[in-house]
């Protein structure tokens, strides 16, 4: 019977969330360590998603021709690119964007952690536990507030790396933080939290009805 319990969907989700949490915590911890070390020991460090101002061959606000293809770039576009350079030359932009990325990673990690606890509780058949409501609210508000934080940031002027040595390859233009999924999942979690809160109250009342 115990084996059946561990084969339930809730436990599958619990293990998935727990493994993902441990994996991402390790990866993000390593990346943060690498960024910190890179900042104090200026060598060639991958800066990542930090926006970079283009110059010379690639103008971010106009078009350019590549072989027979004409590429038009507008300010709101974004592109994936690997950027190398010395963070000390642009410490403001480097710290700012590292912090912003850190906020996203840490909020997602917390959501995973609470999700794992929630699914463990459900796997243990504690469906109407007040802790489940708390986990749903924590997940919901964390993701929702993170998405609001990012949406506000998108409207604010952001520091951009302007040192030419940073550009190694590709097209680098302004990065827009996209957190629509955070907002959708966050709002759904909050709504389900309220539903579960009411269900828990009814369940408690039913249990105390003689």
């Amino acid at each position: 019977m115990k084996l059946k319990k561990y084969l339930s969907i809730s436990y599958l989700l619990y293990f998935s969330f727990a493994v993902t949490f441990i994996f991402l915590a390790g990866v993000n911890g390593y990346l943060m360590f690498q960024k910190t070390i890179g900042f104090w020991q200026p060598t060639n460090v991958i800066v990542g998603t930090t926006p970079v101002l283009l110059s010379n061959n690639h103008d971010a606000t106009t078009s350019f021709e590549h072989e027979e293809l004409t590429v038009s770039i507008i300010n709101s576009n974004s592109a994936q690119v690997v950027v190398y350079g010395n963070p000390l030359e642009n410490s403001g932009a480097y710290i700012y964007h590292s912090f912003v990325i850190f906020i996203e990673k840490i909020s997602f990690l917390f959501a995973l952690f609470w999700g794992a606890l929630l699914f463990k509780n459900l796997g243990d058949e504690n469906y109407f536990d007040s802790k489940n409501t708390r986990y749903l609210f924590l997940i919901g508000w964390t993701l929702f507030l993170t998405s609001i934080f990012y949406e506000v940031l998108n409207f604010l002027p952001q520091p951009i790396l302007d040192a030419q040595p940073f550009i190694e390859e590709g097209i680098v233009i302004f990065e827009r933080y996209s957190t629509e999924y955070h907002m959708a999942i966050g709002l759904m979690s909050i709504v389900f939290g309220y539903v579960l809160k009411e269900a828990t109250r009814i369940h408690e009342e039913q249990k105390l009805t003689v």
């Binding site: 408690e204 009342e205 105390l208 009805t209 003689v210």
Partner: protein, 68 residues
Amino acid sequence: MPVIVNLDVMLAKRKMSLTELSEKVGVTMSNLSILKTGKAKAIRFSTLEAICEVLDCQPGDILEYREQ
């Protein structure tokens, strides 16, 4: 709660134990304890009817409204 359950008073009057009442009414001891200690949120008419029948009393003898 302003509604007081006087089950222990009625049990004392009838010189009956909670275990005996539980057996006669068909309600578990834990549920009767919840009722006796005032932790219950609600009571079913069927339970009240059975208790009144066994204790030979009225619902008002078991439940009492007292202003806080």
